[in-house]
Symmetry: C2
Subunit: 389 residues, 2 copies
């Protein structure tokens, strides 16, 4: 196990009706006007919480400026718009209501409001972060885990370069599983795959002696597979969705991965598909991950086999690890398909994929390497994209 | 799953050499003289860290007043001694170096220094807590998990009443698994049992729909059984002890038990054996827990069987749950015995046990009930003590 420093100061409020008291939480942290970054008003009304939230803010005398129009794979231009408001109005606290795109936009605004330069200067290392504004969130889809970590993914408009960066943890986050009642089926599947892959990326580690976090991660993935599938196929019931919702948080709040490196090549190789072709994040993961496993299966076959046996319940072939991995890949791909997700690029709406362009972007012209389980570079990216065709 | 609020603001610094920079951590939180609550100097010198710590404090200009003489099952009188120093000297920050007894004493001092009354007034509810002084810890034995939670157990000198109370989380905690190199074998076993039972008490819950935390807890307990046993039988190696050390923290930092009630009857029934006869905490658990399971096995046999199958690897008898539980009890008692722990009171040094007195203390004269998996009262305590004879 590696040395580590773990600090997770987000206060998590979880359960039925918890969003109805958001105003009381906000006034613990600011007495000024706030920025209310959110999904479209119509979306929040469909979920049934716009009135609850604004009523609670009004009850506690919280004034706000609203910002919406955030797209999936959220854009730098929207971050800049929010920063301009925060600086102009002297805002100290942001309330973000929505999914990962909304919260990540709010995180980027929170840190960029504290520097002179642009948010992208932080991502590129040109400008150092200087803390951030306070941030409360209400999550409307369990998926990204952004409510309880510092991870922030923003896409630059001009060249569609999508980059993750560690900014700040929210001050508080509110998760009410009931808010998922109106979630369309495809968004359920995307969320389930997202949280699964946050754990799976961490499972494929080069670090030795990490049995404890292996076992905890296996428990989380097994539960996501079982209850995520139930949520998808049988629809909303509170008990099931509550477990899936908390799973999305622990899958990505670093509790289960301290002292070990994750891999993250699949995320980054997939990001280029999302950035270039606007492919939903989850689909970028389900098309890349099986190919990534095929490409790296020789690196540590014991770990790959352990993943399929302990997470997917594949029977171990003690005499032929390749057979175990083959059957594991089949089981995982079948699970992806059962959620109506593509497992090859040809099954998405992308028809002409420019592999060389994607590999060039992922490698930043050949210089950037990705992955820790196995370090990969440009030619490896090409091979993985080809396996995924 | 129940609604919950989760807030764990302790910063955890984990790994080799981490204690050597404690002074730099302390000066982030105070510029005044601190209270340095610790194991006996000779003990810290045997572990090899007294010089490292005082050198680091000196390097960062931290002055301190030392307080030691803390006994296992730590006493209220020592808390009062510390509070008197903190109030007199205007101390704002405490550094605690030792195991659970030292840290719990420091926690009690930290909160009692902020009120007019006595620490016991907080425990009894007579006086409300008013926050606490800052608190840094360096843990010398992985066991109690006190480094990353608010749990505090203190014994009142005059009548040896031992009571747990939720005070404050440490500001930071430093865990260096290397510090366990000189730990005597019996202390290793005690620590392993302590962390195991912190998880097991949470596993026996009346709350429904807690599969996710069940799976994570099972992973933690399986790892504690395997690697805790390895630490005990084969002695120190860094990789093994690092995992056991982090297990002690997650076993009791509430990450794995959000949204579910734990039971805690075993701890509280056992506390009376420790309070009355000064029995080591871990031994109080290994003699009570098997009897508690025998007494409650009819409450939710599916959960009890799941515990033994998923944690102890007992083969499930799908047709006879009682058979599964019988073999599970045998496996668990064998594991306790393999760590040289007693599984009956008659195997401890207690020769004449006054069951009526213990049951009266545990029930506070008949009024106090314990346990959530099954709520127990005076006569139940008597029955469980008898089963444990």
């Amino acid at each position: 196990m590696n040395n580590f420093r773990f600090y997770l100061p987000t206060e998590l409020l979880f359960g039925k009706d918890t969003h109805k008291n958001v105003g009381a939480e906000v006034v613990k942290h600011t007495s000024k006007k706030i920025l209310f970054v959110r999904l479209a008003k119509a979306s929040l009304e469909r979920i049934g919480i716009y009135g609850d939230i604004t009523a609670s803010l009004a009850e506690h005398g919280v004034e706000y400026i609203e910002l919406d129009g955030i797209v999936p794979n959220p854009l730098l231009s929207k971050v800049r718009e929010g920063v301009e408001i925060c600086k102009r109005e002297g805002i100290e606290f942001i309330l973000a209501v929505g999914g990962g795109s909304v919260v990540d936009t709010a995180k980027a605004i929170a840190v960029a409001s504290r520097i002179d330069g642009d948010y992208w200067d932080i991502v590129t290392g040109k400008t150092k972060m200087n803390g951030g504004l306070g941030l409360g969130t209400i999550i409307t889809i369990p998926a990204t885990g952004t409510e309880m970590n510092a991870s922030t993914v923003i896409t630059r408009d001009e060249d569609l370069v999508k980059r993750g960066f560690m900014t700040i943890c929210p001050t508080f986050s509110i998760m009410n599983p009931e808010l998922t009642k109106t979630l369309p089926k495809d968004r359920v599947a995307q969320g389930v795959l997202d949280m699964f892959m946050h754990t799976a990326e961490r499972y494929f580690t080069p670090t030795q002696a990490v049995d404890l976090t292996d076992r905890m991660q296996e428990g989380v993935m097994k539960t996501i597979i079982r209850l995520g599938s139930k949520f998808y196929h049988k629809g909303y019931d509170y008990d099931t969705v509550a477990e899936v919702t908390y799973a999305s948080t622990v899958a990505h709040n670093f509790t289960l991965c301290v002292g070990r490196q994750g891999d993250w090549a699949t995320h980054n190789i997939g990001h280029e598909l999302s950035g270039e072709y606007d492919l939903p994040h989850a689909e970028s993961l389900t098309v890349i991950f099986p190919s990534w496993i095929r490409y790296t299966r020789g690196v540590n076959p014991a770990r790959t086999a352990q993943f399929f046996v302990n997470v997917f319940g594949v029977e171990n072939n003690f005499f032929d690890v390749d057979d175990t991995i083959d059957r594991g890949l089949e089981a995982m791909e079948n699970w992806f398909k059962s959620l109506n997700m593509p497992i090859r690029i040809s099954e998405t709406y992308i028809k002409d994929v420019d592999i060389e362009k994607l590999a060039n972007k992922a490698s930043e012209g050949g210089n950037r390497k990705l992955g820790n389980f196995k370090q990969l570079s440009h030619d490896d990216f090409v091979a993985i994209y080809k396996l995924a065709l």
